[in-house]
Every structure is written in C-alpha cells, then in structure tokens.
C-alpha cells in the first residue's frame, strides 16, 4: 500500500495538555487505580475461590451440566425405557445401554445395563434433551474424581445412586412427566 493511497485516513495524535505533558495526572491515575484494587483485596473482596475449603457458587443447579443421574419414578423403578435415543444423540458415544424385556406391565423394555463413560462424555446435555421420559439428567455435581479409567465408567447402580444423592436438591425437571420442578 502506497502512502498516498486515498483510502488511508491520516489521523493526528491528540495534543496533550500541559498537565498531560508533565506526566503527573497519568502517574497519579496509575497509582490510584492499583491502590483501589489493593485496598479492596485487603478488605477481603477478592474474586478467588479457595476451592477445596470453599465451594464455588454455580448458577442455576437445574441448568448446570455435571455428572449424570438416572431418575426413578414414584414406585422407585428406573424411569428409563431403553429407547436408545440418548445413546443415538450422544456425540461422544459414551452411553452403553443393554435393553431387556420389562418386568412391569406399563412399558415394553427397561435397561438391564446402563453405563456412561464419564471420561468420554463431553457434558453437552444432548442425552437429557433427547430423553422422552426424562430419565437421564445432568446434575450440578462438578467435582468428579476417580483413580482409574474403569472407575469412571458409571453403571446403572451408580447412576441411580447419584439420583438418590441429588433428588432433594435438584428436583426432576418436567412436571408433565412426573417431575417436581416448578
């Protein structure tokens, strides 16, 4: 690009006033800004969360996408009907369902085995959206740890126990399907 190109717009730097040339306002400004933050931190208003001692505040736990759970109905049976919609929707292919004939009269199938590889999962929440009976949901549990890869494959019992652990703090989401959330 030539320097006489008409598309170049030449801009003059704004002239500094005398105070600006003497550097004093800028020097004072810099020091005051940092002093304000320093004083604020010394009063204890920091943004840091000391994690293991202090739990971070997560927004709406009903929206948060953490560890999965398998919901139970009023009779304590697993709500899942083994339709495989969640496994089909899953972009990470981390859901493994073994379907079997249902022992109960109100549905045809139920999951004999239901395993989620929590390490493969990308926590996108598409299984939750796909589920027609609101059986699989993502909870607000975020501190997921384990000592081996095998341990991080959650089976049906583990997922049902997550439901037992979180059902009071996080009610099921759609009232039309037996959920209690309002």
């Amino acid at each position: 690009m030539k320097s006489d190109d008409p598309h170049i717009k030449w801009i003059k730097e704004p002239e500094l006033g005398l105070a600006g040339k003497m550097y004093l306002p800028l020097v004072a400004q810099g020091l005051t800004t940092t002093w304000k933050h320093l004083a604020k931190s010394l009063r204890g208003e920091t943004v840091t969360v000391s994690y293991p001692d202090q739990e971070p505040a997560i927004g709406n736990p009903l929206i948060y996408r953490g560890v999965h759970r398998l919901n139970k109905d009023e009779q304590g049976r697993v709500k899942c009907v083994a339709c495989f919609l969640c496994a089909t929707a899953c972009p990470a292919h981390c859901i493994d369902i073994i379907a079997a004939e249902s022992p109960w009269p109100d549905r045809e199938k139920y999951p004999e085995g239901f395993a989620i590889d929590e390490l493969r999962c990308i926590y996108c929440g598409m299984c939750e959206e796909a589920c027609p009976v609101d059986a699989i949901e993502l909870t607000s549990l975020y501190n997921l740890t384990g000592r081996s890869r095998e341990e991080m494959i959650f089976d049906k019992e583990k997922l049902l126990s997550v439901y037992e652990a979180t059902k009071h703090t996080e009610p099921m989401q759609s009232p039309a399907l037996g959920g209690t959330a309002t």
Partner: protein
C-alpha cells in the same frame, strides 16, 4: 575481626531472608492488585498450619534447588557459570559499606569486650563508600552481559545487550543525583551523609530534583518496572537468563531482588534521612548512645526501607513498561539534563549558604534555601514537559513525494 564476621553474618543472613520474604510480599501484592489472594497455603512443613503462606519462600527455595540444572549445548561453559556468580557476588559485596543501622552501645561477651560503641556497618568509616557502591553496581552489568553472551542464544544476547545499554545509560543520572548529595554533605562516606541529613534536613526536601532523578535511575538500575526491559517477561521470555535453570537461575533472581533492596537502602540513606527521624532518634551528634535510641534508629531505618520497597512493588503494577527508545530518550534527554541542573543548583546554593549566608543554623535561611530548590525543581520539570523530548514521530513524512517516502520506509 570477630565483630566484622558477626556483622557480616547477620547482614548476609538478614538480606537473604529479607529477599526471600520480599518475593512472597511481591507475589501477594501482585495478587492483591489483581483482586486475587496470592500464595497463602504453605505454612509449617508436614503440618496443616498455614501461617498465611509464610512457608512459601522455603518451598520456592527447595523447588529451585532440586530442579534439574540443565546446561544447554554450545554454551561457553566457564562464562555461563561465572555470570550468576558475578552478579550475586557484586550484589552482596555492595552491603559492605551500607550502614544497616546507626550505633549500638558497647557489648561485653565473656572475655570479649568491644572497644566502644559498635557501628552497624560491616566496614565502617570507608571514605569512598559511595564510589565503592557505584563501582560494584557497575560490575552487575558484567553478570548481565556475560549471561546473555554465554547462553549462545540470540534472544538472551539481545536481552543482555538491552540491559547493559540500559544500566550504563542510567548510571549517569544516578551519579549526578548522588553528586548533589555528596556536595551538600561534603563526604562520600554513607554514615557521614546520614549525619549531615540529621543536622540539616533530609536531602529529599533540600534537593527534590536530585531525589526524582535518583529514584528514577534507581528503578532503572534495579531493572524494575517501568524499566524492566532486561527481563520483559512478555517479550524476551526473561532476557539474559532465559537459558538458565535451577540454582543458577535462583542466583540471578536473588541478585535482582538484592539490587532492589540496595536501591531502597540508597534512596533511604541518601535522600530520606537514613536512621534519622525528628524527636525519636535522639541527638545525632552524641558519641554514645543508649539501647532505646539504638533500637529506635534501627526501627526507623528499616521501616523506611520497607515502605520504599512496597512503593517499588506498587509501581510495578501501576505503570506500563517504556519502549526502548523512550527509555533511552528519558535517560539522555531528560534525566541527564535534570541531573546537571540539580548539580548546578546545589553547587550554587551551597556556595551561597557557606560563604554569604548568616549563621548556618538559621531556620529562615534554611527554609529560603529549600524554597529556592523547589522552585528550581518546578521550573526544570516545566521546561522539560514543554520541550517534550520523549515524543518521536517516526511515521513517514507526508510532504515528501511517494518515491521518497518509500525509500524512507
């Protein structure tokens, strides 16, 4: 002999510990300015006692010691080892003449009896003290440039060159700042300079221009922001010590902190009155001294130094780094002339005071001298601001024809 050994042991132990804890303070200050908490968890090893993170320097030191000390291939091995040693040795040796207190009363310990009040300087009464400090601070440049050269790395070398240029450029204004003090105190001996301030008022009041020049130069000599071009973490990945690891890196980092502590000592001793504070530090001319006064003087000196260091750290997060051309312009076009003006003003004022002035202890006369000094300060600052030599317009000139402009670019 024994006295000197004990004093140097206390001093070296003290400044090394101080440097370690100032690293912690620096990290906490950085965190506070950025609305964080900072390192607050390491306390007593093997227990759960946290002590507000006071164990952090120990952990940092252990980490550095046990880290792999990797020597890159193709380095000049002798110079590579020599560089951190040179920089640390010169940084510590500076403290030989720097008073870290005033006097303490004579001590009797078993058979040993000291010959009089003990001066809290490792080598008391060195008449060329100031020159010695100045010479050793120049030796630090060798460490920097050797480190950059021996690393056999282009960026380290550029970092080393930049910092040696910077350190050499700022030694001039620093020297001019000191010259005014030396002229007014009539001695290069640091203890005498403090005594002169106790008698005639702190030099920061009497020579404000010299104070500003010296503080700016001290920031640059200690390579602290806004003059930390030698390191410039974001641009040079550490500059001259990029290729160093483990203990050798630790030596560089400690030396850098010692430079900052030295600079604070010098600012306090040369301009902020050293151990002197009105009323509480006793009669400055007295030959003997009680324990209470001795401790008060120690406390005053070290409190002042602490606050100067906190100021160093506060400034670090307040102002952005200078560009290299601005740095050089500031040194040669602003600080050097200001230093000369200060030197001239001090020379004239001292001459007037000694030759034409009335009784030296006259308060009105002293106040008049201070007023003139501040007027010189304001006027010089104003002239420099209006002349504005820092701004360089390096865009192509538009009044030239396109061909000429292209050849300029």
């Amino acid at each position: 002999m024994l006295e000197v050994l004990i004093k140097s042991a206390i001093l070296i132990g003290g400044i090394m510990t101080a440097a370690a804890y100032f690293v912690l303070l620096e990290r906490r200050m950085a965190a506070w300015v950025q609305d964080r908490i900072g390192p607050s968890r390491v306390g007593i090893p093997l227990t759960n006692i946290r002590l507000w993170g006071l164990g952090q320097p120990l952990a940092d030191g252990l980490k550095m010691i046990f880290k792999e000390e990797y020597t890159p291939g193709h380095v000049d091995r002798r110079l590579y080892v020599l560089a951190p040693l040179a920089i640390l040795a010169s940084a510590i040796a500076t403290y030989a003449v720097i008073p870290f207190g005033s006097l303490i009363p004579p001590i009797e310990l078993g058979d040993y009896k000291s010959a009089g009040p003990i001066q809290l300087t490792v080598a008391p009464g060195v008449d060329v003290g100031m020159i010695y400090v100045f010479a050793l601070s120049s030796v630090a440049v060798y460490g920097v440039i050797l480190g950059g050269w021996a690393s056999n790395n282009k960026y380290s070398f550029l970092g080393g060159l930049r910092s040696s240029a910077q350190l050499i450029a700022y030694e001039l204004p620093m020297g001019l700042g000191i010259l005014g003090v030396v002229l007014a105190a009539g001695s290069l001996n640091l203890e005498t300079i403090v005594a002169a301030q106790a008698a005639h008022g702190w030099f920061a009041l009497v020579q404000p221009l010299g104070f500003v020049v010296f503080v700016v130069a001290a920031f640059a000599e200690a390579a602290r922001l806004p003059f930390d071009l030698p390191e410039a973490e974001q641009e040079l990945i550490g500059g001259y010590h990029t290729e160093y690891s483990g203990m050798k890196l630790l030596l560089f980092l400690v030396a850098e902190f010692l430079h900052m502590i030295t600079a604070s000592f010098l600012i306090v001793i040369l301009f902020l009155g050293g151990w002197h504070f009105p009323v509480i530090t006793g009669d400055p001319d007295a030959e003997t001294i009680g324990w209470l006064t001795a401790i008060a003087r120690l406390a005053v000196l070290h409190t002042k130094i602490f606050f100067v260091i906190v100021f160093f750290m506060w400034v670090r997060w307040s102002w952005p780094r200078f560009r290299f051309d601005q740095l050089m312009n500031l040194a040669w076009k602003i600080m050097l002339p200001l230093g000369l003006v200060n030197f001239l003003a001090v020379a004239i004022l001292e001459e007037v005071r000694h030759v034409h002035g009335p009784d030296e202890s006259s308060l009105a006369w002293s106040l008049a001298i201070i007023a003139v000094a501040w007027a010189v300060f304001a006027l010089a600052w104003l002239v420099v601001s209006v002349a504005n030599p820092l701004v360089t317009d390096n865009r192509p000139r538009r009044d030239l024809s396109p061909g000429e402009i292209d050849s300029q670019i």
